[in-house]
Amino acid sequence: MTTQDELLGQLVDEKYKYGFVTDIESEAAPKGMNEDIIRFISAKKEEPSWLLEWRLSAYRAWTQMHEPRWSKLDYPAIDYQDAHYYSAPKATEKLKSLDEVDPELLETYKKLGIPIREQELLAGVEPTVAVDAVFDSVSVATTFKKKLAEVGVIFCPISEAVREHPELVRKYLGSVVPVTDNFYATLNSAAFTDGSFVYIPKGVRCPMELSTYFRINAANTGQFERTLIIADAGSYVSYLEGCTAPKRDENQLHAAVVELVALDDAEIKYSTVQNWYPGDENGKGGIYNFVTKRGACRGRNSKISWTQVETGSAITWKYPSCILQGDNSVGEFYSVAIANNYQQADTGTKMIHIGRNTKSRIVSKGISAGHGQNTYRGLVRVLPRAEGARNYTQCDSLLIGSSCGAHTVPYIESRNPGATIEHEASTAKISDDQLFYCRQRGIPQEEAVSLIVNGFCREVMQQLPMEFAVEAQKLIGISLEGSVG
């Protein structure tokens, strides 16, 4: 006997099959990863055949690869065939007003000082009141685009770049993070659906932070983002991704790839504020974030600077790196990573010194609270030709409470005897003395924790673009709420 449920199930399956095989208009692909899914994604994006082939080669490599297990992260096995790799962007029902939004979420928005209209956008409220806001953001975006176009900067979704600027995409895509680089990057290469493309022409200083515009669009960022930024000779760009507002996402698995290319005398500053859902206070739920970010300083005197503030995700696996190929090139990595409750972060950087007189600077601030586990993992490698290479690494950990952990795993490999490599590390606890002192002066406990932690992270926070630094500071306080007392 067939029950109603089973019938319904069959119907649903059939619909998927139907939509999947013959109907390109369908908005979702069934669960799982296979060549058909990739063809589906590629067709949806109207991609040229070279890109489809590129994706397929990634997929074939991926099937032969294994998930890396060398990190200090503990999580249950992920069933990669149980995930959706393509779905319509906004399937969720729109809410009527902010009254219907989870009050806890609203409270956090308030603490971050996010304007009401932006709150509505973020929470997915039906734009009855927010029509202006949506209209505004579109018009603002248009204004930005015009301004950027005047100086020849290309800034668009990567799928658009594939159509409009195939020569650039083809030349640089996968040139920093090769298709078979690692398990997650390879999966991303096969399945990426979204992301940004930036090209700064020769000698152009990008007239604005590419943050503001991106932030307006941030509500729609995808699960497998692919970002490619090229700074041509003598150009400069500052790019900010992410959002301080807490974001919940049905997709637990995230695997982004970011590639940066800096040619002669070019500079790229890439800042991230990441606040994905970290799971609840018992460690239930939360995003798994496996990210591959790498920048190539290809040209002489080029510079790439990564700044990250990582407060979200249940699992963070992320090592923004610099390949210092051009002589006199400079790589920087400034990081704040917070692991509270049951969050786990294994993050750091790789600085590969290839060119002469290359310099790198690493400042990592890890904060562990609750049962959080925070690992700094960093590689400094100096190749034989890298005459006069210099690295400075500073790696500080702050512990709050007695059930959390901080771990530092530096790898240093120098094959040039003339290289200078410095590594400093420290571990400290927020002391009762500090907290009492602040409270005696009238500063409530949670604000005191936030103040002390922000002091600890100051060197990194100073690297953030001004308008975001303030929000990021508040975010750090919010992320650590309830961690003391």
Binding site: S431, F436, Y437, R439, I443, C457
Partner: protein, 249 residues
């Protein structure tokens, strides 16, 4: 006005304060002197609400209101200020930032308007002159790398900005050379006010040459053993604390 009535307190198994009573009327400056281990610092911590001490009896009233059940920050909002013997370092937090945050936290708790950066800097300028606090000091992280004298000047500066109803100064003279002592004392004297009670805790008579108190109390064995006028300090300097069961001064 501070009124301590029959206060009993312990830390762990140790009874530290035993039936201590003391009143500091508004507008007066009192000093507490006593041998090491008499419970002087404990008293200051209990007044400010530090964890780790258990009050087993008695009351502490600030302007008539019992403050013992209040959190430290709420006591601060009521006008309680403790000048620390060992001011705490907070790396990465500029002194100015800390000062403004403290003042605004207290103002907020009192339902007053918070000061913006410009208003605060204006206020800060008027307060720093007297204490010889330099701009460089204000930019540096709170107490980090400060000399002993700078730390204590910073404490007095905080008192000047927070304008407390009750200021308890715990061994403010410790670790100061004579010049620094004079500056700190002048700062304190400038804050004597008919609106304020001050309680100066010290082991030595030296500080009281500069800040002349209205009354002096001897704290030993967990209670006030004797009270008197400013001349009591000289007597203690001469005879020590032996008669109160403590070691010589």
């Amino acid at each position: 006005m501070l009124e301590i009535k029959n206060l009993f307190a312990s830390a762990g198994d140790r009874q530290i304060l035993k039936d201590l009573s003391l009143t500091v009327p508004t507008g007066e400056v009192h000093a507490i002197m006593g041998p090491n281990g008499a419970g002087k610092s404990t008293l200051s911590y209990i007044l400010a609400g530090r964890d780790g001490y258990e009050v087993t009896g008695g009351e502490v009233l600030l302007d008539g209101e019992d403050i013992l059940s209040l959190a430290p920050e709420d006591r601060a909002a009521k006008g309680m200020f403790l000048g620390f013997q060992y001011p705490v370092e907070i790396p990465g937090v500029p002194t100015t930032t800390f000062l403004r945050m403290a003042l605004n936290a207290v103002r907020k708790a009192r339902g007053e308007r918070e000061l913006d950066a410009i208003e605060f800097l204006r206020l800060l300028k008027t307060k720093t002159k007297l204490l010889g606090v330099t701009e460089d000091m204000l930019k540096r992280a709170l107490n980090v790398g400060f000399s002993g004298g700078e730390k204590k000047r910073n404490e007095v500066l905080q008192m000047a900005i927070l304008e407390p109803r009750l200021a308890v100064l715990d061994e403010t003279d410790s670790g100061l050379d004579i010049d620094a002592l004079r500056i700190v004392a002048e700062g304190c004297n400038a804050l004597r006010s008919p609106e304020r009670s001050m309680l100066i805790i010290t082991h030595y008579q030296r500080l009281l040459n500069y800040i002349v108190p209205d009354r002096i109390h001897v704290l030993a064995q967990g209670a006030i053993q004797r009270s008197g006028g400013k001349e009591l300090a000289l007597e203690l300097e001469e005879k020590g604390y032996a008669e109160f069961g403590g070691e010589a001064a």
